[in-house]
């Protein structure tokens, strides 16, 4: 049995009258690919926002490697080793592709503004290592040939991959991918799938939200299902496919 990297303990968040996430328990094992699925508005992105500290939970606790993370600021959580992508792509549009990835390295480097002015050999060395590591992350996502373009000029599928590259640059142990395949064509999805597997072999844990069932079933080790903020099922892809509650949740939506 591998160890638990992320643990949600009875986590709830309310927005006004709406309980977006309702007493959710979850455990993610290190080195696995975990998927979170559920109909639109189920609260999947909100769970990611809770884990990364963008919203504080109304109640409950979130632990990363045994340490409590709720209440910490997002940048501290990133530094601890959780990185993420966004469902509605949030790149730094007017920065180059390479600079976007370099920002991912921010929390692993330390030159402040004085260092930038003085530009000592140490600073230069750090700047070089940032550039190298960023190029590596770009290569992994097959974007290195676009390094000098502005992020906002990339096609959609590449923007999604750039988000992953940027997240990888922060050297996370856990990476949260919010609908990474959205808007991609089948071929791009296939490439993305092998990229995600490769990331897994590098020792990272992957936690993803995705609507494409084929993608999820193919890739994930375990799946959790969310509906109206509640966890209604969890298990292996085969178990989830057979689970009547899950089928009901999805059919219920699709019939309407």
């Amino acid at each position: 049995m591998s160890k638990t990297i992320l643990e949600l303990d009875n986590v709830t968040i309310r927005f006004g009258g709406l309980t977006a996430v309702d007493s959710v328990d979850m455990k993610v094992e290190e080195g696995t690919i975990r998927a979170l699925i559920g109909p639109n508005g189920a609260g999947k992105s909100t769970i990611f926002n809770l884990i990364t500290g963008i919203y504080p939970p109304t109640s409950g606790e979130i632990r990363f490697l045994g340490n409590r993370v709720n209440g910490l600021k997002p940048h501290v959580i990133t530094e601890m080793g959780i990185a993420r992508t966004f469902q509605n792509i949030r790149l730094f549009g007017e920065m180059t592709v390479l600079d976007n990835v370099k920002i991912g390295m921010h929390c692993r480097t330390c030159t402040g503004f004085l260092g930038a002015l003085i530009r000592s050999p140490k600073v230069k060395a750090e700047e070089r290592s940032i550039a190298e590591a960023s190029m590596e992350a770009l290569q992994l996502m097959e974007l290195d040939h676009k390094a000098d373009e502005l992020a906002m000029n990339l096609p959609y599928g590449e923007q999604r991959r750039l988000e992953i590259a940027r997240a990888l640059a922060s050297r996370p142990r856990l990476i949260l991918l919010d609908e990474p395949a959205a808007g991609m064509n089948p071929q791009e999805k296939q490439t993305l799938m092998s990229m995600i597997r490769k990331i897994q072999t590098m020792g990272l844990t992957i936690f993803l939200v995705e609507h494409d069932m084929k993608f999820v079933m193919n890739l994930s080790d375990r799946i959790a299902v969310l509906d109206y903020g509640r966890k209604i099922a969890a298990g292996s892809p085969v178990e989830i496919q057979r689970n009547p509650a899950v089928i009901a949740a999805y059919l219920g939506k699709e019939v309407v």
Partner: protein
């Protein structure tokens, strides 16, 4: 303000150029805050006035050496920048602008009522130490520093905050300290600019540092192209020199100036050199700039 240059007819061009340099330093400071980091400030003139009065008083009352007095003015402005920034930088977009506007007006009224500043009568007898050479030296130093920042880890984090605060935070940027550092540097430069101003004009009056002056600085950087160092230089030069070139139309000068502002914005809403970065001009790889949607600046 309109008749300010005409008061000093001797060494006229030197005066104008010195002034341009002084404005450039302040404008580069505001550019770091608003153009690069995307934090709206409508109160830049207040920091100029803090630097101006601090250095002037140190010069007059304590006979402090010029360089030290200027530095002290800059530090004082930067300190107030941090004091104001700490509570207000969590306000977003326009609200930050409004709070800084309010701060600017408060500072003006406070200077108007202090005895050590001479109140509404103004503060006279400041030594004229800001020569064109000194100013030019500081301008070069500032531009050099800004170019270095532009391509550093720190500079990148500023742009990231402008582009998307939430994403920047999620990528590990401590947005509070980063914004405050940017604010401190920007207001420090405003203070330096104000100190030099005091030691050029030799007379200070709180009414010279109203919100109109703050908007003038904002206009410099927006017209030149937010976030672009060559843009700031161009915008500040054009707007500082425009009233001089418009002198032939005498009384209609400011009217035309106002119309020009409207016209230039309509023709080039992103500013004259919007999106142009020095480091990119010099680097061999040229980045394609096909983007039409202008999302830069404060939003």
């Amino acid at each position: 303000m309109d008749s300010f240059f005409s008061m000093f007819l001797n060494d006229y061009y030197i005066q104008v150029l010195t002034m341009l340099g002084i404005y450039l330093i302040g404008a580069l400071g505001l550019n770091l805050i608003t153009g690069v980091t995307g934090q709206l400030s409508f109160g830049h003139a207040a920091f100029l006035s803090i630097g101006a009065y601090t250095s002037a008083i140190l010069s007059i009352k304590l006979q402090m050496p010029f360089a030290l007095a200027i530095l002290a003015g800059g530090l004082m402005a930067g300190l107030w920048g941090v004091l104001l920034g700490y509570p207000t930088l969590r306000l977003t977009g326009d609200y930050l602008g409004i709070a800084t506007l309010g701060f600017g007006e408060i500072v003006r009224v406070v200077f108007l009522n202090m005895t050590i500043t001479g109140g509404a009568l103004g503060l006279a007898g400041i030594p004229r130490s800001a020569t064109l050479t000194v100013v030019l030296f500081i301008v070069i130093l500032t531009v050099w520093a800004m170019v270095r920042l532009e391509n550093s880890r720190f500079g990148r984090s500023l742009v990231a905050i402008r582009e998307d605060e939430i994403a920047a935070e999620a990528m590990g940027v401590n947005i509070t300290t980063t914004k405050i550092t940017a604010f401190a540097i920007g207001t420090f430069l405003a203070g330096i600019s104000g100190g030099l101003y005091a030691h050029l004009i030799q007379y200070l009056n709180p009414s010279d540092f109203g919100f109109i002056k703050s908007f003038e600085f904002l206009t410099f950087i927006v017209l030149g192209g937010l976030g672009s160092i060559p843009g700031v230089i161009l915008g500040t030069s054009v707007l500082t020199l425009a009233p001089e070139f418009l002198r032939f139309i005498a009384d209609y000068r400011m009217m035309v100036y106002g119309l020009l502002m409207v016209f230039m914005m309509i023709v080039r809403p992103r500013g004259l050199l919007g999106g142009v970065q020095l480091s990119r001009i010099f680097s061999k790889k040229k980045a394609q700039q096909t983007g039409t949607s202008a999302s830069g600046g404060a939003n």
